[in-house]
């Protein structure tokens, strides 16, 4: 069962990563096929496992004391675009262009 172009487009939007070429799409198809083997297993009554440490109660609330910070300079060092203490982003709230309008391999499908 092939993945529809709509879903592929949707994935490119969600992941903000492109399929690049037919190999990319084929790769996904194979990955799904591989994963489908999971359905052979009977998991009735089995709880999903989030963490192998579920019995050990790792998570705890620590005291609300400031233990680190004041590293603005270091954190800004690795950013390419910045102004004073701000990371600069291009304009937001502009959705990624629709399939027909953006440069994507999927257009040909």
């Amino acid at each position: 069962q092939k993945v529809s172009v709509e879903v592929l487009d949707h994935l490119e939007h969600l992941a903000l990563v492109d399929f690049r070429n037919s190999e990319g799409v084929e790769r996904l198809q194979k990955a799904i096929q591989f994963a489908d083997q999971l359905h052979e297993i009977n998991t009735d009554g089995v709880e999903p496992m989030d963490s192998v440490l579920e019995d050990r109660w790792c998570l705890y609330l620590r005291e609300d004391d400031v233990t680190e910070g004041n590293c603005t300079k270091e954190l800004l060092e690795n950013a390419r675009e910045k102004v004073e203490e701000y990371f600069v982003a291009p304009p937001g709230n502009i959705p990624l262009p629709k399939l027909e309008e953006r440069e994507t391999f999927l257009q040909g499908s």
Partner: protein, 526 residues
């Protein structure tokens, strides 16, 4: 001579007695790194800072106040651990030029004990792969490709061709670290292990590769792949050294909420002589399709070794083994999709010049920064996490994970102390052969014996066992109970002593650059 000694037994003594100094050790390692550059094990060599650390260590030894066994010991760190002031690339264009503002906890711990950080080692891009062939800095070459043992057994096509086309992979993804330890350029190296990434290259490079119990060693500063499975891995030349490293790294870290809070007591390994109280389990499902007859035979011999020494050796069953790779595939890609979302060009790493909108910039940055393997896993992961697929794939995989973890619990409850399995399906493949299949296929094949331990969070170790008929290392894997590293390593050490794995005999190497014959500088080992 100290270049080949055990840390606790030989090197530490030599340093304390002044028979060798930290700067000498550091300089020798740096020289060796230069002369083995063709292995491509290192991405960054931090020569200046290493020498400075060595000098500081030397001062401490002169005063008779070394910080511990690791003081002055040259180590290497996989390039997916943050290291202050040193580039951390994860072998990806996405992080080229990224200079970490902080040290990963494990790196900090090593430095606090006086270890000398020689540099960052090569890997598959973002630790995704089982060959250390898919990073932007090129593949890592297995030092054994240049060993007398391998050359003796390989059929040269022609003298000029032999080295260039015959070299074998290190395995991965911590191939650079494994190669660095195997070629004596450092005494120990940090790797990471999510599906076998420390044990696999350890097996192919003939070194000890330890995957600790999940939750024992801090992941703070290890650029995450799969938060629920990643662990820092330890690569050394002998089991005793792995115990030393473990002792200095394990323990609760307030910066990593997935580390257990129990106190960790570093230990020295006893010299086990009596194995009669031990019960070794041989999981029959690990006789996986594709397992080479050589390794099968070695595994069987190892089982006999224990039996003849008086241990109880029993066949056991881990029935869900054959599904663990599928389960891993889903959980891994799902967590990767989430973890890779942080790379958007805004705060660090590569940033695209496209600037029409945030989304366009993000998409272009990620398009430019990630290789096919990474992008493929992100897209697959996002697919499995779609609303219509979440229950069917992600939650289903989480349920299967519990079944896999329970398989181990049942076996350990039945009285088995340690499991003995192969680590890899075969010895290291020639690079030219390895790249015939794509990364995902290779990973699925190669991870099959190692990743169930990651699913269950159990400690596991590769111990180099013997040379294959091609003259390459083959290792066997021991899997232990959660947080029972002492028992695991004690048994591993006993086994190591029995098998007496041979030392690599690295030869002079003639390098031929593409088409043009050039004789490069040689290195030699005393």
């Amino acid at each position: 001579l100290p270049l080949k000694g055990g840390l606790r037994s030989q090197v530490s003594a030599a340093l304390k007695e002044g028979r060798v100094t930290p700067t000498e050790l550091c300089q020798r390692c740096l020289a060796l790194i230069k002369s083995t550059k063709f292995l491509n094990a290192y991405i960054t060599v931090a020569e200046e800072t290493a020498l400075k650390q060595a000098e500081e260590s030397e001062e401490r030894y002169k005063k008779g106040q070394p910080l511990g066994i690791l003081d002055g010991i040259p180590i290497a760190v996989k390039d997916n651990f943050n290291t202050t002031g040193i580039e951390t690339t994860c072998a990806s264009n996405m992080l080229k030029g990224y200079i970490s503002p902080y040290n990963a906890t494990v790196v900090q711990k090593l430095l606090d004990q006086g270890a000398v950080l020689l540099g960052k080692t090569n890997l598959d891009e973002f630790a995704m792969g089982s060959g250390s062939t898919d990073g932007v800095f090129g593949p890592v070459r297995n030092p054994w490709s240049y060993s007398k043992q391998y050359k003796k057994k390989s059929v040269p096509k022609s003298r000029s061709e032999s080295e260039e086309s015959n070299w074998v992979i290190t395995g991965g993804s911590s191939g650079g670290s494994a190669a660095a330890v195997s070629s004596f350029t450092c005494f120990a190296a940090l790797g990471s292990d999510t599906g076998g990434s420390t044990r696999n290259p350890a097996a192919h490079c003939g070194v000890v590769g330890l995957k600790p119990t999940y939750g024992l060693i801090s992941r703070h500063g290890l650029i995450p792949l799969v938060n629920s499975m990643d662990v820092p891995g330890i690569l050394t030349r002998c089991v005793d050294d792995a115990a030393v490293l473990l002792g200095s790294l394990a323990g609760h870290d307030p910066k990593d909420s997935t580390t257990i809070q129990d106190d960790f007591m570093p230990f020295e390994l006893p010299n086990l002589t009596d194995v009669s109280k031990l019960s070794i389990g041989i999981p029959k499902e690990y006789h996986a399709p594709g397992l080479s007859s050589e390794i099968l035979s070695l595994w069987s011999k190892a089982a006999d070794l224990f039996k003849n020494a008086g241990a109880k050796v029993v066949e056991v069953s881990l029935p869900h083994t054959r599904y663990s790779i599928v389960c891993y595939h889903v959980l891994c890609t799902a967590e990767v999709a989430s973890n890779m979302a942080r790379f958007d060009g805004l705060e660090y790493g590569h940033r695209s010049d496209m600037k029409e909108s945030t989304e366009i910039m993000y998409a272009a940055t990620r398009r430019e920064g990630f290789n096919d393997v990474v992008r493929g896993r992100i897209l697959s992961g996002n697919y499995f996490l779609l609303k219509q697929n979440y229950e069917k794939y992600f939650v289903k995989a989480q349920k299967v994970r519990r079944l896999i973890a329970n398989d181990f619990v049942k076996v350990f409850r039945s009285g088995v102390d340690i499991l003995l399995t192969p680590t890899t399906l075969s010895d290291a493949a020639p690079y030219m052969e390895f790249i015939q299949e794509d990364n995902r296929t290779r990973s699925a094949q190669d991870d099959i014996l190692t990743q169930a331990a990651n699913m269950a969070g159990l400690p596991a170790i590769n111990v180099p066992t013997a040379l294959s008929k091609r003259g390459l290392p083959v290792g066997l894997q021991f899997i232990g109970r959660s947080f029972q590293e002492k028992q695991l390593l004690t048994v591993a050490k006993w086994f190591e002593k029995q098998v007496q794995f041979p030392m690599i005999q690295l030869e002079e190497v003639k390098r031929h650059d593409s088409g043009v014959f050039q004789h490069q500088k040689f290195f030699s080992f005393s």
